[in-house]
């Protein structure tokens, strides 16, 4: 793979990671809403457990956002190191 192709691949990865970051952020919000909805549906133990799992999913999607951000920074470092 020549430098130009590598640069293009890095750009592609960066753009896709940005998309994943956005999707994770959106889904995190959705899961958070689900948690709120489920906690309003009565005292059923299974529903309450589902609510906790939705809350956890929301948190882990938040974590994915952080990972994506770190990956984007790594890619940017690589791109900056390559000859323009």
């Amino acid at each position: 793979m020549n430098e130009n192709e590598l640069q293009q691949t890095l750009s592609y990865l960066s753009s896709e990671i940005n998309r994943i970051e956005t999707i994770a952020g959106t889904l995190s919000g959705v899961e958070s809403e689900h948690y709120k909805t489920l906690t309003n549906l009565g005292e059923d133990e299974k529903l309450q457990q589902l609510a906790l799992e939705e809350q956890n999913a929301s948190r882990q999607l938040g974590e994915i956002k952080s990972i994506c951000l770190a990956l984007s920074q790594k890619i940017e470092e690589l791109q900056n190191k390559m000859p323009q």
Binding site: Q55, Q60, A70
Partner: protein, 477 residues
């Protein structure tokens, strides 16, 4: 019938208590049962029974869960809510709880909550079922669990999405074929409840599976040496860290007992370019250790975290080296205060075990302690329900993370990692000076004025004299 039994019991109790009080009132004090009360208060109930155990067995009692003393005054710290000068965090903003350990490693370790499961080994401490349940619960929440000082148990590796392994003083995980399968490597130099004291599990207490995981021969004891095998000099330690980092790419750190020599120990770790440092305070738990090691050795967690964080800041290493705190952290409040003092993440052991067992305590109580469900080769080991345990641990970690997040809204912070010393005040003047936290008694702009006379206190003079004496002693040596 029940009414009759109830009345009879009351009558018997009444007679017994009346006679006991009359007897205690009449008997000479030296022959009086009541003497147990002052003597127990003098010696302490725990010491009383532990002395009986020493006398009975002739060996140090192995006390589970670490010291009962709360050395770290966490309750003297309070968070500072905000209203107007800085606004609270809006409720529709999610509080970020993720943490990355070893940011400079080729493969950093990112966890969804700063709470990780502490090192508790299979065999040396816990049963296989308990280890699998810990791994499952941790994986469900998105955090890491720790092997403890043992070999690599396949079932634990499979159940844990993130597994930190201890390169240990027993040598059981110290082969590339094992440590290359880990998500982070923690070089175990010591622990809060035992310092760097050697430990031994006798062969008679080691079963077939235990031997397989540890690579022991039949009849061989499991020995934890005071030093890491093959590491007798600073240079050998530095070479070991370099080798592990090159071979694996995962974060490589150390775990040590908190000590007054903290900064000197950390200096060597920084020279070795570790990715993280785990400090285990004197309140750290353990499977079993002699009371003297648990009660009389080490440095309290609160001061250890503060000193370690300040040292990393002084060395400009805060971003390069993650600080992991552990040892006697009991409540989500303790956890968040530890983060505010400068820890990046933390381990919980005792509390994780309590959450894991949770309502299953009914399977052993009132005739056996609940630990019997989770300890290796204990009486009720097989009764532990793995799935139920994993779910309870998940629920606990979820609740504790959420609880820490609640404080963040009041502090106007959007991430647990943003909480800092400025978000705390203290109710103790000495803690204020030691930890660098403002004293809650007086306004921020009156802090210096309040402490002005403190340098004239006799204690300060004594400390100065002690310092000059000790430096004179050092010159003599």
């Amino acid at each position: 019938m029940l009414l009759f039994i109830g009345r009879l019991t009351r009558k018997i109790a009444n007679e017994v208590v009346d006679k006991a009080i009359a007897r205690m009132a009449k008997d000479q004090y030296t022959e009086n049962l009541f003497e147990m009360i002052p003597v127990t208060k003098k010696v302490g109930l725990i010491n009383l029974m532990e002395n009986v155990m020493r006398a009975e067995h002739g060996t140090p009692p192995g006390r589970p869960f670490g010291t009962h003393m709360r050395f770290s005054p966490w309750d003297k710290l309070l968070f500072n809510p905000v209203h107007l000068h800085r606004f609270p965090t809006p409720e529709n903003v999610a509080i970020d709880s993720s943490v990355t350990i070893g940011k400079n490693a080729k493969k950093p370790l990112t966890i969804s909550t700063p709470i990780m499961i502490a090192a508790m080994s299979y065999g040396g401490a816990l049963s296989k079922n308990a280890k699998i349940a810990l791994a499952k619960g941790a994986s469900k929440i998105g955090t890491a669990t720790n092997t403890g000082e043992s070999g690599l148990m396949e079932e634990e590796r499979e159940a844990a999405s993130l597994l930190i392994g201890q390169y240990n003083r027993g040598g059981w995980l110290n082969e590339p074929v094992k440590y290359k399968r880990l998500d982070a490597i923690e070089i175990q130099l010591g622990q809060g409840a035992q310092g760097s004291t050697p430990q031994r599990t006798t062969a008679k207490n080691i079963g077939k599976e235990y031997r397989e995981v540890y690579g022991l021969e039949k009849g061989e004891d499991a020995l934890i040496h005071s030093r890491l095998p093959g590491v007798d000099t600073k240079e050998q330690f530095i070479a070991l860290v370099k080798k592990l980092k090159e071979e694996t790419g995962v974060p490589v750190g150390i775990k040590m007992a908190a000590t007054h020599h903290l900064e000197k120990e950390m200096q060597v770790a920084l020279e070795a370019e570790v990715d993280f440092i785990t400090i285990d305070g004197a309140e750290g738990g353990t499977h079993a250790a002699a009371p003297i090691l648990e009660d009389d050795l080490g440095l309290p967690t609160i001061f250890a975290i503060s000193r370690a964080a300040k040292f990393l800041a002084k060395k400009g290493a805060v971003k390069d080296v993650s600080l992991v705190a552990t040892g006697g952290l009991v409540t989500p409040g303790d956890f968040l205060k530890a983060l505010a003092l400068g820890a990046d993440a933390l381990y919980t052991g005792t509390i994780a075990m309590m959450a894991l067992i949770s309502v299953q305590t009914t399977k052993t109580l009132p005739f056996e302690p609940p630990t019997g469900l989770a300890i290796y080769n204990a009486k009720a080991t097989e009764k532990l329900d793995i799935e139920q345990s994993a779910n309870r641990l998940f629920n606990y970690l979820n609740a504790a993370t959420q609880e820490m997040g609640l404080v963040c809204y009041s502090l106007g912070k959007t991430s647990l990692s943003d909480v800092s010393l400025n978000d705390l005040c203290t109710l103790d003047p000495f803690l204020s000076r030691a930890l660098g936290i403002e004293l809650g008694y007086v306004a921020p702009d009156e802090q210096n004025e309040y402490f002005e006379g403190f340098t004239d206190l006799p204690l300060h003079e004594m400390a100065r004299q002690n310092k000059s004496e000790s430096s004179a002693e050092q010159h003599l040596h």
